[in-house]
Amino acid sequence: MIQIEGLNKTYHTGFLMRPKKALTDIHLQVPQGIIYGFIGPNGAGKSTTIKVLTGLLNFDSGKVQVAGFSPRVVKSRTRLGYCPEQPYFYDYLTGRELMFFYGRLAGLQGKELEKRTEWALNLVHANKDWIDRRLRTYSKGMMQRVGLAQSILSKPELLILDEPMSGLDPMGRRDVREAILSLNKEGVTVFYSSHLLSDVESISDRVAMIVDGRIVREGSIDEITSSCSVQYHIRTGETPSNLSLPSGVKPSSQSGEWTCENAAARDLFIQYCLNAGISIERIDHQRPSLEDILTEEIARAES
């Protein structure tokens, strides 16, 4: 559904138009029918990539295809729904009038338009009395729901959402999550960016991690987490001297607990404890979460 090959994008900022590389050699493939999470820290290039896909930004080089068309072509947007981060709309319209406005732009008319509007508003739990109030009176959560509703109004095959859950309360996040899953069940491909890694882990089929304008990890959640070494946590009865610890072993925040970076470090530490007559009370192993991996990648990029 989305194909990106060797995408590069540079911004020119300031009076002197100094170049700043925003995306560097991005490669992404989003197959049809999946939920694809796009994660990364602020300013990593998530929104830039999404705006390139929706035709809002031009790019320097590379090949980008959305539903079989270049995003520069109007046709690429006929099967696309998009909700920007913090959606802004004409605040003199009511929520329902806004839906009709965007519906007409998507080619819907008459009864069909009314039917689709009802369907979209119901899906995001926005079909309430406030939908007939002017948008200037809406809270952020209401705006986010209307934004999501307008993006699915034309029943798109591809839905691109930029931070759809940011600023929402737990109920709102749950509603958006459920709406994404429900649309995906109907065959809609969803590509979305998010900071909320727990949500990404719970609903995404595949994930791409972008740091400093480069894709650093890509794959299913399992593929990404299993590609990292497992950490081992060991609890000892007595506290050995830190100075003589084997390499790869660090003390944890709690006294008497130790973190071994890999299996070799674990074995060395066990041997060390046996030799020193220190009792071992517990050994755990833990796979890193997306958050751990992202933090590690950010630290690596910064260094």
Binding site: T54, L56, L57, P87, Y90, Y92, R104, L105, A106, Q150
Partner: protein
């Protein structure tokens, strides 16, 4: 067909947005107030009262149309970009050309409504003051509309790539240059004929006046109030040729605005 429908939807939305602008009402009421004030001007003037009322009101129409184009029109595109409503709009299957043309037609609709309202006020004033209202005045009002159609296109062109303040200054510049370019050329040629400036300076001045005359839209062509008020016949097909001239400039300005808008990044 789909593009025409998109243009219509955007134009209607622009019209609805513009008629909510408080500045518009200030300009409309100011124009109506000045039109009514022209009755007093007619009384005070040493010239024929009817002539003063007619020509003053036509000038008010032109200037108030300019103010609407500048203060309402220029912010239209910038507002879409600054408020980021453009992000959702352009992610729909509409071309950026449709967006620009829709915005243009929406604002032109506002200017047309303003002129229709002033025309009604104009004729009421003429009837009340018994200043021989005639249908020939409508041709002068139509010319003001054509002039405004060009000015709105200029405003939209500048607002597609510049800040509102600069766009306003540029648009006012084009308006005054367009009105004065003919006089400037005539003056320069007169001065040259009289031999007051000679040599390279004379050639340079004339060339510059010719360039200004050729590049800026000749808005002086649309000021036919003296012909209409004093019942001086216009050349045959004058309105038709001036309409065509306006269409040419509007097409050019909208094409440049669309081209530029196509190249823009929306962050």
């Amino acid at each position: 067909m789909q593009s025409l429908s998109h243009i219509g939807i955007i134009a209607l939305n622009t019209f609805r947005e513009s008629i909510r602008d408080k500045i518009l009402y200030n300009i409309v009421f100011l124009a109506i107030g000045l039109a009514v004030f022209s009755i007093l001007l007619g009384e005070w003037s040493v010239f024929d009262r009817a002539h003063v009322i007619k020509s003053t009101t036509l000038t008010i129409m032109s200037l108030s149309g300019l103010l609407i184009s500048v203060f309402v029109g220029i912010s239209l595109v910038q507002k879409e970009i600054q408020r980021k409503t453009v992000l959702t709009l352009l992610s729909k299957p509409i071309s950026r050309v449709s967006f620009i043309v829709g915005k243009y037609l929406g604002l032109l609709g506002v200017v047309a409504c303003h002129l229709i309202l002033l025309t009604v006020v104009y004729y009421i004033i003429l009837f009340v003051t018994e200043s021989s209202p005639s249908l020939s005045l409508l041709s002068a009002i139509y010319m003001v509309f054509c002039e405004m159609a060009i000015v709105v296109a200029v405003a939209l062109l500048f607002s597609s790539f510049s800040t509102p303040v600069l766009s306003a200054l540029f648009t006012l510049g084009v308006y005054f240059a367009g009105h004065l370019s003919n006089q400037l050329l005539e003056q320069v040629q007169f001065v040259k004929r009289m031999g007051e400036v000679e040599g390279f300076g004379s050639v340079l001045m004339e060339k510059m006046a010719i360039i200004i005359h050729a590049v800026f839209p000749g808005l002086y062509r649309y000021n036919i109030s003296s012909n209409v008020v004093h019942q001086i016949a216009l050349p045959d097909w004058y309105l038709f040729w001036q309409s065509l001239y306006a269409l040419g400039y509007i097409g050019l300005f909208l094409a440049i605005a669309s081209w530029w808008f196509n190249r823009r990044d929306f962050l």
